[in-house]
Chain length 165, copies 2
Amino acid sequence: MQTKAMELPKVGSIGEYIRDQRKQAKISLRQLATQAGVSNPYLSQIERGLRKPSAEILNQIAKGLRISSQALYVQAGLIEDREPDSDVLAAMRADRTLTERQRQVLIDIYESFRKENHVEAPAETERTSQNAWSEPEPQGVDAVLAEEGLTSSPNGGIKPEPKEG
Amino acid sequence: MQTKAMELPKVGSIGEYIRDQRKQAKISLRQLATQAGVSNPYLSQIERGLRKPSAEILNQIAKGLRISSQALYVQAGLIEDREPDSDVLAAMRADRTLTERQRQVLIDIYESFRKENHVEAPAETERTSQNAWSEPEPQGVDAVLAEEGLTSSPNGGIKPEPKEG
DNA sequence: CAGACGCGTTTGCATTTGCAAGCACCGTGA
DNA sequence: TCACGGTGCTTGCAAATGCAAACGCGTCTG
C-alpha cells in the first residue's frame, strides 16, 4: 500500500521536497541532519510528513541543503508563489528599510504612474483583495501621501532636515 | 508613538515589528488576532516577545496585517541571507515605463521615507553600491508631486474615501 | 451606582515540536 | 558465526506552542 500521505498533505509536500533535494545532493539523512543542526530522527519524521517543522528548523534545513529558504517556505505553503511582476515592485517589496505602510504608498504611486502612461499593470497582487477591513486604502497620489502625513507641510512626517552644505 | 530609535536593523524582535505594523494599521490587538486567525492572548505574547510564533502563525499574522509574509520572515531572521533585493533605486532607474519626471518623484518619495526611518545610504545591499543619485531635491514631497500635476486624479474611478468612518 | 463593552494581559492546560536513546536492517571483514 | 560501521525508523520525554477562560483597567450608558 503506497501510503500517499493522505493524513498530512500540507507537510507531506515539504517533506518530499526536502527528501528529494537531499537525494539530489547525494547525502544521507544523518549527514543532512548534522549539517542542518537538527536531530536525525526529527528530520526523518519531517521528510515523511509526520512532523511539521517550525520556520527555524526549516531555515536550518535550507542552510544544510544549500538551497534558498524561500523555496522551502513556498513548498511549505508559507509564502505565496507570486508572479515576478515588475522589477520595481519586486524591489519595493523586498526593501527592508520601508515600513509596510510606506511600501504600499510607494506601490500605489508607482502604479498610478503606470496608469498615467497607459502601461498595463502586470499580474496584480493580493492588494486587490480588499477584505472587510475597517480602513480602506486611499487611492490617488496625494491621498496616499496624506495617509502617511507627509504631504502638505514641508515637514509633515519628515524631519526638517537641514541638508548639509 | 512608535519607537523612533531603530526598528529596521533590529532582527529578532519580531514582536516589536508586528506591534508597530499593527499600530500603523490602526487596529486593535484583538482585531488583528481575529483577522489573522490566532488567539488574542497569544498575539499579545508574541508582540511582547514572550513567545516565538511558528511559521504558520507568522504567515497568518502577515495576512492579517496585509503585509508581505517575507517581510515578517526577514524580521524574524529566517530569510535574511537570501539573495534578497534588487535595489529599489536601481530598479526605478532601469524602468522604461516611467518618465524621467515620474522617476524623480518616486526617488524623492523613497528618499523621504528612508529619512523618516533614519536610514542612511543604501549600504544594506553590498552588491548594489550605486548611490549616484547624490542629493534629492530639498523641496517637499508634495511640491514634487505638484510639479507633475498629479495631485489627485491619476486614477479615475477610485473615490477618495474620507477616512474616519 | 450597576451593567455592558472595549482594550491588553495573565493563567492553566491540551497539543505539538524537537531531541536523546534505542531499534531493525544491510554490507563488509575476520 | 560474530563484530563493526552504515543507512533510516520508532519510542518516550522535556520544552515549547497555541488557545480558552478569566482578570484588571478604562470608557460609555442607563
